[in-house]
Amino acid sequence: MSELAAVSEEEYAKVCDFLYRRTGMLFTEAKRYYVQRRLSERMAFLRIASFATYYAYLRSDVDGEIEKFINSLTVNETYFYREEHQLRCLSSDLLNERAEAKRPGEALRIWSVPCATGEEPYSIAMWLLENWPEVDVRDIEIVGSDIDTACLTAAREGEFAQRALMRLSPGLIAKYFVPTGENRWRILEDLRRSVQFTSANVTDRAQVRAHGTFDVIFCRNVLIYFDDASRRVAAENLFECLVPGGFICLGHTESMSRISPLFEVRRFADAIVYQRPPEDGHG
């Protein structure tokens, strides 16, 4: 095991500050070891011995280092029932509040963007079927979108490695998946057909508008990659496609402060989410 450069508390604070200002990612004391390790790994990989040198390298974004560093921090592997507390919030609070505001026959619409290879929108579908009492009496539309068309193709196929199912109980796996050999599983056709997958870039207003309006949007770990100007545009696009009173959920290290003050902060038992104000009518 090669020796990784040790990173001091001050140095850690500097990097966290920079990350926060640049991306909105917020790391608490609890995550210190995790971030320090990623830092040390990047430095070892680049053969940079001094923190000051790496810090300057990171700040100047040589060779796309900021994105590389962010990638190392966001666990890119997606899996079913990731950030379960947000799913709990969805079925315990968000959908109930939204359902009350619906006209008869009006569907509740949920957007997962970016959806990558589909774990998130399928998770939402499964979770609601399992946990939301009103799931049988309400129309629910789930849309999954991504900028990566290869991901979308895979998402429509709905086949996953065992790893992606690690948070699911054997009972759930048996109920919603069929094995396709070699530790791979395919989600049931009914569920595959219940999610619509589309291509979308959240910074593109026309593309976002083409998707209609939503009651709940899950937009995790993508805003952190944008610069300030693009992030503002994306936030406005997302705001525009939320119904008044609709909710948006970000990744757990992301602070909405990056793209506020459009949204209002709402605290529920399981999560803090952001809401488009319910009444927009005032001139």
Binding site: E10, A52, D136, T198, E240
Partner: protein, 197 residues
């Protein structure tokens, strides 16, 4: 299964009004957002900003100006750093921060503005510059700065991006404002951090 899939109806396109200053806040917001996508938007956005009081519409105008990132849009935004309204000041600085290249020519002037709050807020914008550019500007400001709060803001930024060339001026500021406990505290910390980098 109650989960249904069907083609999404696009967002209602209400007859797009070209006017950025008429109608409800929602209508003005939509008009501003549409305008911001056109290349010639800056003059009309700047004009609309002067009349707009709704925070969300203002925010969208600032976003449009930041996206444009031209000399004109930066000029239009920079004027609002002098506002009496804290929210407007904040919005202007955030917009300038979102267009670093376009803002840069304005920085020396803002750092020398007679209003101490303008100087103070402008220090923030130096954080993202290459150190070779930010350090001389901050050193220049500190050499002549009379306001303790502005000096403190500059020291705060230097604590993060300062280089050894800034150490002499920091020591001079410590002597000039020796009686201020916060400045003494900040300078000590900044000198410490720069020294160890």
């Amino acid at each position: 299964m109650p989960l249904i899939r069907r083609p999404s109806p696009p967002v209602e396109a209400a007859a797009p009004s070209r006017s950025l200053t008429e109608g409800t806040a929602d209508q003005r917001w939509a008009a501003v957002r549409a305008a911001a996508e056109r290349p010639d938007a800056v003059p009309s956005l700047a004009a609309a900003l002067a009349q707009e009081s709704d925070p969300r519409v203002r925010e969208a105008i600032f976003t449009g100006l930041a996206r444009a990132a031209t000399a004109e849009s930066a000029e239009a935004v920079a004027a609002y750093v002098r506002s009496d309204d804290a929210g407007l000041r904040r919005a202007a600085i955030d917009a300038l921060r979102a267009m670093p290249m376009a803002s840069r020519p304005h920085l020396p002037g803002m750092l020398a503005d007679p209003d101490p709050d303008v100087r103070l807020l402008s220090c923030e914008l130096l954080r993202d510059l290459p150190q070779a550019d930010s350090n001389p500007l901050l050193i220049g400001l500190l050499e002549r700065e009379s306001s303790k709060n502005v000096a403190a803001a500059a020291v705060e930024v230097l604590a993060e991006i300062g280089r050894p060339e800034a150490l002499p001026v920091l020591n001079r500021v410590a002597q000039r404002f020796g009686d201020d406990p916060f400045l003494a505290f900040s300078i000590k910390l900044a000198v410490d951090r720069i020294g160890r980098s």
